[in-house]
Symmetry: C2
Subunit: 562 residues, 2 copies
């Protein structure tokens, strides 16, 4: 009898369910359910930095999407029974913290806060806490630089403590009413298993380690004294946070009878501790030491792992270095590019070269494929949305050079693709400079699956084969893998991630191999890219002021208008 | 009774005639006649560097265009008689040398060379002589650096001796049959006045000084020994060149009876010594000490004058510094930008932002006019076609930086305009650094007349009022001014250029004044422009290799294909 694991993938606009055969990774059924509140699930305001989510969307969405996927499974697989499901895994966006009361119930469900956006979940892309992020970075730099060394040197406005501190300052009524702030990656599994009360709550090391400066090296979350310097009330919150965080092989608990009734799943099925989408996505793509998983979308998330039993330097410029955040027993190493697909989309949608038809991704790709490496004379920097790794600076901007009077849109389009490839290579080089070898690259996401041009350029620039994840739902698949491991072998799941990944994940047959001649040419161009990268990127670069000065002038000019 | 002067302006594709009232500059009649041979007058071959012209086009075109303009004048002005025309002036493209026999007859009219492109006029944009230009530059740098100091430090493939030497090497049959090589600026007035025989030929100092290293400082053309080192036969040619060159106030002679019969003009009317279009254009726009004339088209020609009786340094990076080449008694100083309108045309025609309608010059200008200085955060270099002044390097390329994910085509369009303004300011600053004050700027050409946006940005960036020439045919008008001066006051013309310019040239009522706030902002941006200019432009700049290395890779990559 086949056994299944269910992956639940909570995205920005919808939740996806994926039912996977634990023996071979076959994706038996899938369903998606869009959030109903706000704008496709995102609650906005007059402040363009604000982005929130109502936890009711997670509850309702979970119920609906599980019903859908089960009915889909019954149609797809004759004789399918929900009892064949042995485990459940959950991945979510993050950092998306949610204020809850002393029972673990979101304040958003409390009538007093029904209209207070501060009581909602603070979505990953909420940027209201820029000032608090700067304050936290500054204090950590002064008294606890080790906190920053594990997260790229700068604490982000998108992260847990920035948001909590901003709420403390901007909406104290919510902060004061909150017993705890819980990442939805933790709150959803806790809710499904009835363990959301603070004394039972299990938190995952993925969210805690990457977004809340949690590390066993300094005893978990940042020390109370540090948080107290930001605000004494934060020290109080610290005392209510769990003492330790768990890896995704452990279960948050078993599915409650109530959730069994609501969804049709058997009660007691183990639900794995939650983690972020990209991290479980890396697992679903087969991440392992020496393998870099690139999740390529509007931006990229680049994830690899390194054994915890060997020394590892603090790799500068990485977004995060957290033991156990991806696979138990390994450092989870996270890097990324602030824009990839978004740069191509900018060129197609904003510049609209050649008009709508001639300027489509398809048409430009077809022409760009005919341009040989080096033949355009163009070189670009991939910084239209800043640089996440290795410069960790959102205030950098794009650059294109080499234009003549005959430069075509397809040549520019190709140069933009090449720029993102050079950015990707810079990340890989940084890993290797610090002893983390990258033997192969597994790509996932729409661009990886749909653009042979991008993948071939990546292979030629990076000089390694570009492989493509077999699943196009690696995040949900990774969640299902975690569900199978949380279930354990005896219950029909897997003993560990190694076994589960071997059985459940894989690659597409087609991969992209570097052309040696193209790689040689790109080597020469990459040297020029690095010259521009190092000249314009760091403040001490020879042109390190140019982009910043222009942004300052821009801010000044726009202020004049208002 | 009104007196007229006739300006004949020989362009790349056509000849224009302009009949001007010498008392007030009123343009009474004008006519254009397109060349009939080749592609709009330009004879091409499989070699993309080759561009020639048949001298018959000049002869036939002159005859037709004069008949047209006279008939036009009769219609426009009741009682008009050709006898009211007191002088003729001629401007042409250049350097456009033409091989002629011992009577001054073009070899192209000799049956033996009827099919030999080397016997045609070598049009200014013919680039077949790149190797010879490098050879001449190299030899001059070694033994006569003063030759180069007057022409921007590099002898161009577009210029007289490069072309002659290339013919000597590539088509010796033509070189050997040629008694002399004559610029068409000299050959056309000589032909109209029957003075084309070498012993009667007068050559203008404009062509000789700017393109053939002629300077009274070293006794005229380059010394025979120098030319002999390039090839002994060039030393022979040197001995047949006129001993001295003339300024445009002197007459080449009087119109022949034959040309009188062919055109209807009175025989004997004085024809001024010829000069290049931009130089007579500057005169037509009112050039004087302290006034820079910018002839803005696909590229620009920037011309000013400085008194010869005061010391003048060799201003580095200028295209030419030649006594008497514009106005008698003044140094003619020539600078320029390799592309201005061509950069805007590239963006509109090649990149085609927003499709054909949204991406027209008109639509982009309307939107770009709403973007405040500094508000786009963009900065560009105006080098899509290299940099003529002050870097004198055709192998530089364009650069755009500051792009975000929201940058619009109108913002880019404005940044490209601003880049050409920064390039224009760099030229003006160079003049002033070497003691040539530029008090005001007079602009001419289609862009100056039609684009208030460009003119306002130029005023704001350059910090000086932008004035517009009253005439939209400044080259032909300048030729008419020269004709009036060659005629002299007693014959109904003018005593000198000062009097003639005062009477015949002028400005449009509308000028563009700098906005102080915009000028301040552009001052900050210009500092960043100079940082990029000095970083990417000169070989010793911190990024001085980047564009060249990319071009080398491009050449390599394209060679691979062939």
């Amino acid at each position: 009898m086949a056994r299944y694991s269910l992956g639940l993938d909570f995205g920005t606009n919808s939740v996806r369910a994926l039912l996977v055969d634990v023996a071979n990774g076959k994706e038996t059924a899938t369903a998606v359910d869009g959030y109903r509140r706000g704008t496709q699930g995102v609650i906005l305001s007059h402040d363009p930095n604000l982005a929130r989510q109502h936890p009711a969307d997670y509850i309702d969405g979970t119920e609906r999407v599980i019903r859908k996927v089960l009915s889909q499974a019954r149609r797809a697989k004759k004789g399918f029974r929900p009892e064949q499901i042995v485990g459940i895994g959950v991945d979510t966006t993050g950092s998306t913290p949610l204020p809850v009361d002393h029972r673990g119930i979101p304040l958003a469900f409390d009538r007093r806060f029904a209209r207070d956006p501060a009581a909602l979940a603070w979505l990953w892309k909420d940027h209201t806490a820029v000032a608090e992020a700067a304050e936290i970075t500054s204090l950590a730099r002064e008294i606890h630089p080790e906190y920053l060394a594990k997260c790229g040197g700068t604490y982000s406005s998108e992260w847990y403590f920035s948001k909590v501190l901003h709420c403390l300052r901007a909406a104290p009524q919510v902060f004061d009413a909150a017993h705890l702030w819980v990442e939805i990656a933790d709150w959803i599994p806790a809710t499904l298993t009835g363990t959301q009360a603070p004394d039972q709550l299990k938190v995952g090391v993925c969210a805690a380690g990457h977004k809340a400066m949690y590390n066993d090296l300094w005893g978990g979350y940042p020390e109370a004294e540090f948080l107290g310097r930001l605000d004494p009330k934060l020290a109080g919150l610290r005392s209510r946070l769990p003492a330790r965080a768990e890896t995704v092989d452990s279960a948050a608990g078993g599915l409650t009878a109530d959730w069994s009734r609501r969804t049709g799943l058997p009660a007691g099925v183990p639900v794995a501790v939650g983690a972020f989408d990209a991290h479980l996505g890396a697992i679903g793509a087969g991440v392992a030491p020496g393998i870099l998983v690139k999740i390529i979308g509007t931006s990229t998330c680049d994830i690899t792992v390194a054994p915890v039993d060997r020394p590892l330097a603090d790799v500068p410029g990485l977004c995060g270095i957290v033991p156990g955040s991806v696979l138990p027993g390994f450092y989870g190493l996270e890097a990324g590019q602030s824009a990839v697909g978004d740069i191509f989309n900018w060129f197609v949608n904003y510049v609209q070269p050649g008009g709508k038809k001639a300027g489509s991704h398809e048409a430009l790709s077809a022409q760009a494929a005919k341009v040989r490496p080096g033949a355009s004379g163009l070189l670009a920097l991939d910084w239209n949305n800043g640089n996440r790794t290795i410069l960790v600076d959102q205030r950098l901007t794009g650059l294109l050079l080499g234009q003549t009077l005959y430069t075509t849109p397809a040549e520019i389009y190709r140069a933009l693709i090449e720029a993102t490839a050079f950015g990707a290579l810079t990340i890989i080089n940084r890993f290797e400079e610090y002893g983390v070898a990258i033997r192969e690259v597994v790509n996932c996401g729409g661009i990886a699956e749909k653009s042979p041009l991008v993948m071939q350029i990546y292979a030629d620039v990076i000089g390694r084969p570009m492989k493509i994840s077999r699943s196009s739902q690696t995040c949900a698949l990774g969640a299902a893998v975690a569900g199978a491991v949380a279930a354990g072998r005896d219950a029909g799941g897997h003993a560990d991630f190694d076994a589960a990944q071997k059985a459940m994940t894989g690659l597409k047959p087609k991969d992209y191999r570097p052309d040696p001649q193209a790689h040689r040419i790109y080597g020469d161009i990459y040297a020029l890219y690095r010259k521009l990268h190092d000249g314009f990127g760091p403040p001490q670069g020879v042109c390190g002021n140019v982009m910043k000065d222009l942004l300052a002038l821009r801010a000044h000019s726009r202020r004049d208008v208002i």
